[in-house]
């Protein structure tokens, strides 16, 4: 399912956060949004998810106007992995993942739902954790469980807001590999905010750099991740080399400018 953003503006408390963003994500694409804190990448993600209302501009999901869809219709089209999930006492993995069926079945249907749930647990590799209490899991396990929830939601689009934040490097890779695998298995369109440029280059087909509320660069990782971008967008002097094994760009950061 495609995502189209046209001339999107958004202000918060009189301060412009997004100042005319255009972006088209084709069905099945894997797009990474990068930029410094406050560049508007999380805001853009929340606008696409319909959690914020734009000041002006349009957002289309699979060609349909987002503003014309109900909350539940949106939830059947896109799943969101927010930066964090507040703790819920005694909530088990199975109980959380079952909630993915809510947009399809409604509050009454959820009482007995287990249909595509087992499959979601399997796909995310957390079937063995199904009866564990969520708060007792490690950060990496929690992210995998939350991805199982997104799978159970059975949407065409997956939005992720820094899915690797606060994780060990091994779990960072594990989570991104899982996202890549889920995208292949389900034909998902993936739009993710990523802090780590090397991760964006490794896992995304397309990198969109936001700067001061606008799209500063948009293209393949090799096109976007350049020493100029590091300097102008991130304020860092650095070199970009090519990773011999993967053929993707890698940043060597030298100094803050």
């Amino acid at each position: 399912m495609s995502v189209t953003v046209q001339d999107l503006h958004f202000s918060y408390a009189g301060r412009p956060i997004l100042a005319g963003v255009d972006l088209t994500v084709e069905p099945g694409e894997f797009v990474a949004l990068v930029g410094v804190n406050g560049s508007g990448k999380s805001t853009l993600l929340r606008l696409i998810a319909g959690l914020l209302k734009p000041s002006s501009g349009r957002i289309l999901l699979g060609g349909e106007e987002l503003s014309s869809l109900s909350r539940r219709q949106v939830a059947r089209r896109l799943a969101v992995l927010h930066q964090s999930l507040p703790p819920v006492p005694a909530l088990t993995v199975r109980q959380l993942v079952r909630q993915g069926r809510y947009p399809h079945l409604g509050p009454l249907g959820l009482l007995g739902a287990s249909d595509s749930m087992d499959e979601a647990l399997e796909l995310a590799g957390v079937a063995h954790l199904a009866d564990r209490v969520l708060d007792t899991l490690s950060g990496g396990e929690r992210q995998r469980v939350r991805l199982a929830l997104a799978v159970a939601q059975d949407t065409g689009i997956l939005l992720l807001d820094e899915p690797t934040a606060h994780l060990d490097i091994r779990h960072q890779l594990e989570v991104l590999e899982l996202v890549r695998g889920l995208r292949a298995a389900r034909g998902l369109t993936v739009v993710t905010v990523l802090h780590e440029l090397d991760h964006a280059a490794r896992f995304a087909e397309r990198v969109v750099a936001l700067h001061e509320g606008r799209v500063r660069a948009d293209g393949t990782p090799a096109e976007v991740i350049t020493p100029e971008l590091l300097a102008e967008v991130f304020g860092v002097a650095g070199r970009v080399v090519t990773d011999e094994l993967h053929g993707t760009p890698r940043c060597l950061l030298d100094a803050a400018l």
Partner: protein, 312 residues
């Protein structure tokens, strides 16, 4: 489960100190002797009142804790229960309904509960729902203060005000239950039907919205159910404390949702009233001045809460 209830029911009826024969006689469907009549007219309604009130409070607390995302949310701390008590006593003071009117008490409790919930809502408007509990405490204190003012102003009119203030299931008869039982059963059924909504709401507004539930709408539905259940409980037994706070914790530990909260609350209050009846015998030797169940729930609830808090 059925066995647990049977044992509890037997203990509760026996704790009244009435003859065993009269209680077992009821099982054969005999209600002709004087003793059987007393058990049937007083003992059984008292037991059912305790079970229903406990279930209502357990579910109301469960709904509030899930909706407000605070483990300390409870009917007595959200302004709802104190409001319901104020509604009942205010209604009585104004002579809006006779002291033995079940429907009158329920309506007054509903109005008061909605007022209490509304005050909490106004205090906390536009703030994080998790902080609602602090404002709920403020609202509760305000309402309890108003109730005290009412009592101080016209003490003679409230001969049995203590039963509402402390909470007691004593003296409830079939007429009281006739109306409230349907109300509470209906409220629990609605809460159970809303299980999915509560589950989706518990991990936060972003989470709920991303799964297709408008958080404000979900919260409004859930709080309405909680107020209705709390008012039903208050109209039967007044301000029973701690059941609505502790029962949901125990229910969650048991891995259950609304049904578990109902069962835990029912068992907790029937058990507390069993102890209250026993304590009544010890303290007086007669049944004339009973110990209110609310005293037992307050003491036992505090102990259980400390234990839960330490083990978490």
């Amino acid at each position: 489960m059925a066995g647990l209830f049977a044992v509890l029911a037997a203990a509760h009826l026996l704790a009244s100190g009435r003859p065993v024969g009269a209680i077992t006689g009821l099982l054969d469907g005999v209600v002709d002797g004087q003793a059987e009549k007393i058990v049937w007219e007083l003992g059984v309604p008292r037991l059912l009142t305790a079970l229903l009130t406990g279930a209502a409070l357990g579910v109301a607390g469960f709904v509030l804790q899930a909706t407000l995302r605070n483990p300390l949310a409870a009917p007595e701390f959200s302004g709802v229960n104190p409001g319901a008590v104020l509604g009942i006593l205010g209604g009585l003071a104004l002579g809006l309904f006779p002291a033995d009117s079940a429907a009158g008490a329920l309506l007054a409790a509903l109005a008061g509960g909605a007022l209490g919930g509304g005050i909490t809502w106004l205090f906390s408007a536009g703030r994080d729902p998790a902080g609602l509990v602090v404002h709920g405490l403020l609202g509760s204190a305000l309402l309890a203060g108003l109730t005290t003012m009412l009592l101080a102003y016209q003490p003679s009119r409230f001969g049995n005000a203590l039963r509402w203030l402390i909470g007691s299931v004593e003296g409830r008869v079939w007429e009281h239950l006739a109306f409230a039982s349907w109300w509470i059963a209906g409220g629990i059924a609605v809460a159970w039907a809303c299980s999915g909504l509560l589950a989706v709401l518990a991990p936060g507004d972003d989470h709920a919205a991303s799964l297709g539930l408008r958080p404000a709408l979900g919260r409004a539905v859930a709080l309405t159910v909680a107020i209705a259940l709390t008012a039903g409980a208050a109209s039967l037994a007044g301000a029973i404390a701690f059941v609505g706070l502790v029962a949901p914790h125990v229910a969650r530990r048991l891995g259950g949702g609304v049904p578990a909260a109902a069962v835990t609350g029912a068992v907790a209050l029937a058990g507390a009233d069993t102890l209250a009846q026993l304590a009544g015998h010890l303290l007086n030797g007669t049944h004339r001045l009973g110990v209110p169940a609310g005293v037992v729930t307050a003491l036992a609830g505090a102990a259980v809460l400390i234990r839960l808090g330490r083990s978490q």
